[in-house]
Amino acid sequence: MIAREMGEHEVRPYKQIMKRTPLYDIHKKLGGRMVEFGGWEMPVQYKGVMEEHHAVRERAGLFDISHMGEIFVEGPKAHDFINYLTTNDIYRIENGGCQYSACCYENGGVVDDVISYQFSPEKYLVVVNASNTEKDFEWFKKNNTLGVSIRNRSAEFCQLALQGPLSQKILEPLVETDLGLLKYYTFVETFFQGKEIIISRTGYTGEDGFELYGKWGEAPFFWNSLLEQGAGDGIMPVGLSARDTLRLESAYSLYGHEISETINPFEARLNWIVKLDKSDFIGKKILKKIKAGGPHRTLIGLEMVDAGVPRQGYKIWFGDQEAGEVTSGTFSPTLNKGIALALVKSENALENEFEIEIRGAKRRGRSIILPFYKRGG
């Protein structure tokens, strides 16, 4: 028995020395299977991906995402800097607001997808993908024509995600803020059992939930307190595998799959984060052209009709024409079938029936309206 392809993340046994989060020992104790992910040794699963996935959909799950990067941008021109570096319009949010956005290259390819937290027009936290942290930091500095202060403070912050319908109930007693007032995509600086914390109502699972930023070394305290507080509600620690199946069901992009240096936001159907009517930003010129002409490729959602699990890189066929390939695929624990996001030629994007080539055989799949799963839907 040899695993020949390992699904979404590049999952392989860890050999070289890798970075660890402050929760490493706790993950091991909880039975977490540790794998390499973006240079970090992270838990891919604890009890099992299915159980963890369902826990988040039905109750609550706790994720260690301390590997993610935190870059602070400060100074009188911070507001304009963020607007120049990202495709979304930062003028549309207020202090205490979060905004999902992308940083693009001049050619329209994506440097990274990010969430900007606005403390004030002079202070932002930009949360970036773990494996892109260094690249993003260098990119910010390289394009710092406005003289802002840019600090990579990733080593100072732990990050936990508490996701699932019972998240608010579990977190509420531990923090000094009224979570009922915390709207989707806003954040608050408050205290968690006396310890400083930033809490945002954000996430990567499609469920209600929160992302928490505290001092690096205090991660075990936050983690254990949340597991203890949520024990009666069936909270579970959740690994990277379920993080991926949850985000894929919700059709959230993963850098390196749906977006990358060679896949622009219009192809990835992220039109809503590209505001071409705002002031100049990196990539605007080309993105304007791409939008006017229409992207050559379009991201679609597919579900399997025949048996089979689509995986990244599998070819998509429309009749005898090669239409494109799978960017992310998995078995969906909620739908109980294989699902995929696929980048296909735009001329094929509105078709309903496709075939997915799995180990040399073409299996039937059909296009479905994204997302695959919507809470309450």
Binding site: I2, G31, F331
Partner: protein, 130 residues
């Protein structure tokens, strides 16, 4: 973590087990293998009556996150596949040495069984691997 390694079956380095009854071999994957794979969601079996050759892939196990070939520990003809697993592949995770067996073959080269490991040898092999 403790892995179940029953001593009434033989093992391969590819983490399959073989139960020998006369000229018939029942084949499955070990507790270590199912643990490594995680939740198994789909299985591709060979057709009954086909011939499998030692060390060749005879089937595919898909877990949520991975695809794995299953290699034939011995050569022979497939006389039965465990059909119920097609609808309930999770049985392999729950009972890999029992209800979760994969296929039965009629051996064409019984001498190949000499190369299989016993439980003790497999346990040592697992320790060396990890």
């Amino acid at each position: 973590m403790t892995m179940a390694i029953p001593d009434d079956v033989k093992y391969t380095k590819e983490h399959e087990w073989v139960k020998l009854e006369g000229n018939i071999a029942t084949i499955g994957i070990t507790d270590y293998a199912q643990e490594q794979l995680g939740d198994i969601v789909m299985i591709e079996f060979p057709a009954e009556g086909t011939t499998v050759v030692k060390n060749d892939a005879f089937g595919v196990l898909e877990s949520v996150k991975s695809v794995s070939d299953v290699f034939a520990p011995l050569s022979g003809k497939v006389i039965e596949v465990n059909d119920p697993l097609t609808d309930s592949p999770g049985i392999v995770n729950e009972d890999c040495y029992g209800e979760g067996w994969l296929i039965k073959i009629e051996l064409s080269k019984p001498q190949e069984t000499e190369e299989l490991m016993n439980a003790k040898a497999y346990e040592t092999y697992l320790k060396e691997e990890s």
